[in-house]
């Protein structure tokens, strides 16, 4: 052990050691045996030799040797080159190199094992859990009106998607005041959304500034929310802060009293669906001048977010931080608490409400991330469908459901998923991966490299300037508007005219191909069983 040396140090003054070399990820120490994941090809006949594909590739997989030549081992299959090829003559295929099939040892398992044998490093991944676990959304179906109950045509009748987040009173007292009425009950601070879809927490640092600005602009135009993540608030997005949830996570990056007061609400981040129970580290390479100013840390320093918030080891401690934030914001902002959905989520959620959380943000095990250890991303946490159902039920059983709103996130792919989440008991959903896909992301899952060709999860100005926030915001607005319109259609088919009426109405859901226990946990009847 090094104790001997350390003992000596006490006697002898030591001179400063040279600084350690700059950060490097582990590289292969032995030859690379495994074949590339993709095979890049182009049609030489059609190729106009414009070299655009070479410039578009963030991973520098392509080079010019009288024609475009690919280093397949660098290609991550992000399709940026293909999308920008004027001749559309590029084809990216899964490498057809065949391995002997094995029911236990998938090629993915083999590939990971070889990579680790070569580098000795911990595997990293971006985006969400990509293993083929059963997707419960695809085993839930919604009811519709037939004969005995009329459906509603949303084109003719108004449909209400407006959603209020925050603590609600048990009952309200109103008093007649002249011709009108006035509210006697004092309401807790809340947030009104035009649609029950908000944007998930994505920090500047994990995503680029144009990406965050696109999301912030879209949230303002839509009348919904964006979320700063734990990266602080950059000056360029400050004008959109009135529609932001500002996050306070374990690293406390960029958190000061002005920051806490600048948003529509404050969120305490305990955990994230993609990496329950572990913290984060933004590598120094990504801490540029701008990121440094936003996070309020020196340029080039690793931004470590320890796994727990070290002032929170219990529900009582959580209450202490919730009320520290309420004090610092003069009780004018709702406080949200974000956790990863884990096995004991219902009991934890109950504790969070009792601790004073006004919004519970539940992140399922398919939630995205800029970077997470692959083992954690793929094997920890529970599906959001289950988490919504058990938390909603628990809070109802305890008579405290009105005290907090539920935002559900982690694997929302379509308006149908939104409708099902709300029917299971969520007040609203948050979309992260879906929002990035609206900005161009093709789910290559290499966000952690910081080389995103789409300019989304990178800080390289060459790459980030490809993303025009005006265009990005428009695409996000289009997406959320389209989903909202589909929600109205669905409400019409269900015969209700407001999203409120659907919330937690599990009688309108049926399960197919689900076992009895899962149905019980979801609080949903099997298809074929009537009311």
């Amino acid at each position: 052990m090094m104790m001997k040396e350390r003992d000596l140090l006490l006697e002898e003054p030591q001179t400063e050691e040279a600084e350690e070399p700059l950060h490097e990820v582990r590289v292969a120490t032995t030859p690379v045996y495994y074949p590339p994941e993709f095979r890049w090809t182009n049609d030489q006949e059609r190729c106009a030799r414009c070299k655009r594909c070479i410039h578009q590739c963030g991973w520098k997989a392509l080079r010019w040797e009288g024609r475009v030549v690919a280093d397949d081992s660098k290609c991550v299959g992000c399709h940026r080159c293909e999308a920008f090829c004027p001749e559309r003559c590029i084809t990216i295929l899964p490498n057809p190199q065949a391995f002997k099939e094995h029911g236990l040892w998938s090629v993915g398992h083999r590939r990971n094992l070889w990579k680790q044998a070569e580098t000795g490093g911990v595997l990293l991944a971006g985006m969400g859990n990509d293993l083929p676990y059963q997707v419960l959304w695809d085993h839930l179906v919604l009811d519709a009106c037939q004969v005995t109950n009329p459906s509603i045509d949303p084109a003719r009748e108004p449909m209400e998607l407006r959603t209020h987040l925050g603590r609600k009173p048990e009952a309200v007292e109103v008093r007649q005041n002249g011709d009108g009425f006035e509210l006697v009950t004092a309401l807790e601070p809340g947030i009104e959304l035009s649609t029950p879809i908000v944007f998930a927490a994505m920090s500047y640092g994990s995503i680029s500034l144009p990406a965050q600005k696109s999301i912030a602009m879209a949230a303002c135009e839509l009348g919904t929310l964006w979320n700063t993540g734990e990266g602080g608030l950059h000056d360029e997005v400050r004008p959109f802060a009135n529609r932001a949830i500002v996050q306070c996570a374990s690293g406390r990056f960029g958190v000061d009293v002005d920051y806490l007061n600048s948003g529509a609400g404050v969120e305490i981040k305990i955990g994230q669906g993609a990496k329950p129970g572990i913290g984060g580290h933004l590598p120094g390479e990504k801490v540029s001048q701008d990121v440094s100013e936003t996070r309020m840390i020196p340029v080039g320093s690793d931004a470590l977010s320890p796994a727990p918030q070290h002032d929170i080891y219990s529900i009582e401690d959580l209450r202490q931080l919730i009320f520290a934030i309420k004090e610092a914001t003069n009780y004018e902002k709702p406080v949200s608490v974000k956790i990863a959905a884990v096995h004991n989520v219902a009991a934890i959620a109950s504790g969070m409400v009792r601790a004073g959380a006004d919004i519970l943000y539940l992140d399922g095990f398919r939630g995205g991330t800029g970077a997470a250890p692959t083992t954690i991303r793929d094997h920890f946490g529970i599906p959001i469908e289950i988490a919504i159902a058990v938390v909603d039920q628990r809070l109802r059983d305890e008579g405290i459901r009105n005290q907090a709103s539920i935002i559900a996130a982690g694997g929302i792919r379509s308006s149908a998923d939104v409708a099902k989440a709300i029917t299971l008991g969520a007040d609203a959903v948050a979309i992260g991966t879906a929002a990035l896909m609206a900005l161009g992301c093709t789910l290559c899952q290499k966000c952690y490299t910081g080389r995103c060709s789409w300019g989304i999860t990178t800080q390289d100005p060459q790459l980030t300037r490809r993303l025009d926030p005006n265009v990005g915001a428009q695409r996000l607005v289009n997406l959320v508007k389209a989903w909202s319109e589909e929600l109205e259609e669905m409400l019409g088919a269900l015969g209700v005219n407001s999203i409120e009426s659907l919330r937690g109405s599990r009688e309108r859901l049926r399960g197919i191909q689900l076992d009895r226990t899962t149905l019980e946990v979801l609080g949903v009847k099997p298809a074929g069983v009537g009311a």
Partner: protein, 262 residues
């Protein structure tokens, strides 16, 4: 709870130095609301008497304010503090100066756990001993560099995840054989400096920190902080500076540098 503002104000007297608030039996929400209001109205100096465990005193307060606290304030004293000076005449509890940005907190007695968590600037002076996880994840930014000076001893995990700033542990109190600092000091440290006065058992120091004797230039660097500490609590700075100091600095600024496979 929820006294009317009139009832809260009834517990006030005005002295030449500013407003005196009798916190006896007052809920923290009422007390802090009154402080915020009075500060907005332009009051700058406060003395709170009969304080007995009220939380969040001074939390989120901004500007050039002075608070003197007689009694024991509760947890999260001066959380998110941005400018004010808080003087505590007795002991204080946990989470003092949580995520503090600037200002100063001076405690005449002992203080509890998790002091200066995520602190980015300002100074905290504790005359007596402190508990666990003090100075956790302190960080420096631009001209801001937080400083914590502790007169007595510290519990486990002093300077955990430290990313910037200075912690000075003086060990002036009688410790009956207890160590100057508890276990795992500086674990996860990746920035800043910790100065320990007197004998240190290296088994208490995390392998994430290098231990070295302090060089004269480094001593000069911390002299102003120690001098200020001595002014607050009536010590002789030269005497305090007379003992040797050990200095802890991070082994690596990039603790997760080569952890991952590409």
């Amino acid at each position: 709870m929820a006294k009317t503002m009139a009832a809260v104000q009834a517990a006030e007297t005005r002295e030449e130095m500013g407003i005196v608030i009798d916190a006896q039996g007052m809920h923290y929400r009422d007390l802090n609301r009154r402080l915020r209001e009075a500060a907005t109205e332009g009051e700058a100096r406060f003395r709170l008497v009969n304080v007995n465990g009220q939380r969040y005193i001074g939390t989120g307060l901004k500007g050039d304010l002075h608070l003197e606290i007689c009694g024991v304030p509760g947890n999260d004293l001066g959380a998110f503090l941005s400018g004010p000076t808080i003087l505590v005449r007795n002991n204080a509890q946990d989470a003092i100066g949580n995520t503090m940005d600037s200002g100063s907190i001076i405690v005449k007695g002992d203080a509890g756990d998790v002091i200066g968590y995520g602190m980015r600037g300002g100074t905290i002076f504790i005359n007596g001993n402190v508990g666990y996880r003090v100075g956790i994840h302190m960080k420096a930014y631009r001209q801001k560099s937080p400083v914590i000076v502790i007169g007595g001893a510290a519990g486990d995990f002093l300077g955990e995840y430290m990313a910037g700033g200075v912690i000075i542990l003086l060990g002036l109190s009688e410790r009956n054989g207890d160590p100057l600092v508890g276990n795992y000091c500086a674990s996860g440290m990746h920035g800043g400096e910790i100065y320990l006065r007197g004998k240190v058992d290296p088994r208490h120091i995390s392998p994430h920190a290098k231990i070295a004797q302090t060089k004269p230039t480094q001593i000069e660097h911390i002299r102003p902080h120690i001098a200020e500490f001595c002014t607050h609590f009536g010590y002789d700075a030269d005497k305090v500076m007379g003992e040797p100091f050990f200095r802890l600095t991070p082994v690596s600024h990039r603790p997760y540098g080569a952890k991952y496979a590409t």
